[in-house]
Symmetry: C2
Subunit: 392 residues, 2 copies
């Protein structure tokens, strides 16, 4: 059972989704928690993101309310009003200040948030809150996800066993800079706010921002980190050993969730790690990795289990980064297949790798020592099917 | 019948394609023609492109030899040798200097160019050349194309009827900066070389570089313009009325071919023009148009005939261009569907537009007066099918 001291959760069906599935979730901290967040960089932001960006400024949050089914985006002033209204109703039920409540929404863009349904469901949502029901939040935020995504890590801090737990959703529109994905991370470990923000930012850059399904970026992406300090450790700060342990553990947890998003990428049958090494800078490596990881020709080749290294090189070549194609090397897992820009191994000796559900493509640009990577998935019939008919 | 004075063509099956279809074409000018070309910007370039870039420097070309089936890319020094060998064989047959011959190749990346087959086929290729067989060149260069692409325009220059004719191929990997596409443009109109280059560059920017199928850019893209001056007009130069007429006609011709490539985009069922207006600069408009036109979520919505304006705005929002989503307007053909960032029309009143095989989406960013556009197609099951199994 996934639990974090002092945090309660619940997820119920409130009727927003026509299917009758769970669509409303809550996370509640017994006392106001220190809070940090990372939001979408899309210039178009959903109403809950606009409100959340404002409220997170206090550095405190006691409750997160999240619905799936309707994204509450492109809804103008009315959408913002509805987001605020939701938190007002919840603040009345919880008897806490509404500024301590942040809403999130995910689902169809453009529809109105059904506040009456949410108002009606709030008493049931709150009365059912339990430390045993955090995983139900993960169920309530699913849209095209095929499975709920949550996980946790325990770490020893001051000889006490602390917990970091996370609930996430995301299957489509996932790309660097975080696309329709939500992630709520809770910890009982005491950590000062500056360190929280830094750890969150660094871990998001190394995980969610490197996960590509289709290169789109949603209007509602948000990652929250809440700490209630219930562990009673002395607050983590600076670049201490404890801070590094915290950041590493958080990154490891987020990587697990990012990988499960790539695995659940709409219609995906494979998760492929694209590693670019031998670049002059990490940024340069990252540009090439992103160009290769979003190439439709590359992604369909993965689906077809076709070890077409030429498409991979052609995608790298249009990234805008100058390299000498005649020096380039490529590896499928650990097998070198391209040397000096040409095939150096029989296809029979590496074809099997493309049949695996997970593998790594490494391209060495031979320009320098920097590297980066992205996680991507294959482009399949089911991706097209899901997205051509999502609304109907 | 498409003819241009002084130019001969032919297209035959030489056995490069296993299917037995035409795979080898030639264009021959009775005298060395003035020549200009635009090549791929991919840093990875096929052997024929490397050779073509070198030979075009003389500004003269008398014969183009082109094969489909094998791209002769990622083939290193051996590939370059094979490209040169092909032109050597042809120069012997035609009895012209080999430097006046430029080869092109399109097809599978990485395979070796079968020079023996080509050598064997050259006598037949040359002996069959005729002014009536330019369209057979268009057939010989098809790869995943469903139909051959060629067209021509007549214009009056010095009271004489001149011709500009073009043969092209391209269906997949088509994107701005020209992806696997070849285009051979022939004219009998006398025009000086500087003006030829300028007219070609301008027309390519307005046409092929605005056509998106999947955002990939090939290693072998080339557009050639050959002028033999057989019309006998005084050479077009500067910014004269004749120059403007020439450039406009060339652009119009290239637009027709670019549109037919988008229509033939791998698996495409629709061609959609994405117009971005109200930008601060043409470049800004072009960035947004490209981001929207390559978005998988947008392209699958086109396939699903789902008028999901929210996906269009979300794609614009991640382009990196700052705009105020609450001022944005959107039109489907001439119907305004979004005003001040919100839906302003019932879906029933615009749903029919997405059922058309061709339509226009216009987004007004309300930032300034500049505009740009791209042509894109929908992302379909057949796109995935074709590209997952192209090699097998």
């Amino acid at each position: 059972m996934m639990k974090v001291k002092g945090f309660l959760g619940n997820g119920i069906a409130s009727g927003i989704k026509k299917s009758g599935r769970k669509d409303l979730g809550i996370i509640f901290s017994e006392k106001p928690a220190d809070a940090a967040a990372v939001f979408t960089k899309n210039v178009v932001k959903g109403a809950p993101v606009i409100l959340g960006m404002e409220r997170i400024k206090t550095g405190l949050c006691q409750a997160l309310i999240v619905n799936s089914g309707v994204a509450n985006t492109h809804t103008g002033k009315d959408g913002l009003k509805r987001a605020i209204q939701t938190t007002k109703y919840l603040s009345g039920e919880l008897k806490i200040n509404e500024d301590l409540i942040i809403p999130s929404s995910t689902g169809i863009i453009g529809g109105k948030l059904p506040v009456k349904k949410i108002k009606k469901a709030i008493p049931r949502l709150v009365s059912g809150m339990s430390e045993n029901r955090l995983t139900e939040v993960a169920e309530a935020i699913m849209t095209t996800d095929k499975f709920p995504k949550y996980s946790y890590r325990n770490i020893m801090i001051d000889n006490k066993k602390g917990t970091i737990a996370a609930m996430a959703k995301g299957a489509g529109m996932i790309c660097p800079d975080m696309a329709t994905m939500l992630c709520f991370i809770l910890t009982d470990i005491n950590i000062n706010r500056g360190s929280m923000r830094k750890a969150l930012r660094n871990s998001v850059n190394l995980t969610f921002n490197r996960t590509i399904v289709d290169g789109d970026m949603s209007t509602n992406d948000s990652v929250f980190l809440l700490s209630n300090g219930y562990l009673g450790n002395s607050a983590i700060s600076g670049n201490s050993k404890e801070y590094r342990k915290f950041e590493e553990t958080l990154t490891d947890l987020n990587l697990e969730l990012a990988e499960s998003m790539a695995r659940d990428g709409e219609g995906a049958t494979k998760v492929v790690k694209i590693v670019i090494k031998g670049a002059k800078s990490e940024k340069q490596a990252s540009i090439v990795a992103h160009t290769v990881g979003t190439s439709l020709l590359v992604k369909t080749a993965f689906f077809g289990e076709d070890p077409n290294w030429g498409r991979l090189i052609a995608a790298a070549g249009r990234s805008g980064v100058k390299f000498d194609p005649e020096k380039l090397e490529m590896f499928f897992d650990r097998i070198k297949v391209v040397k000096n820009g040409m095939q150096c191994k029989n296809e029979a000796d590496y074809k099997h790798i493309f049949k695996k559900p997970e593998f790594t493509v490494t391209i060495d640009l031979k320009l320098g020592n920097a590297s980066s990577y992205v996680l991507t998935s294959d482009l399949t019939f089911d991706y097209v099917k899901l997205n051509a008919h999502y609304r109907t």
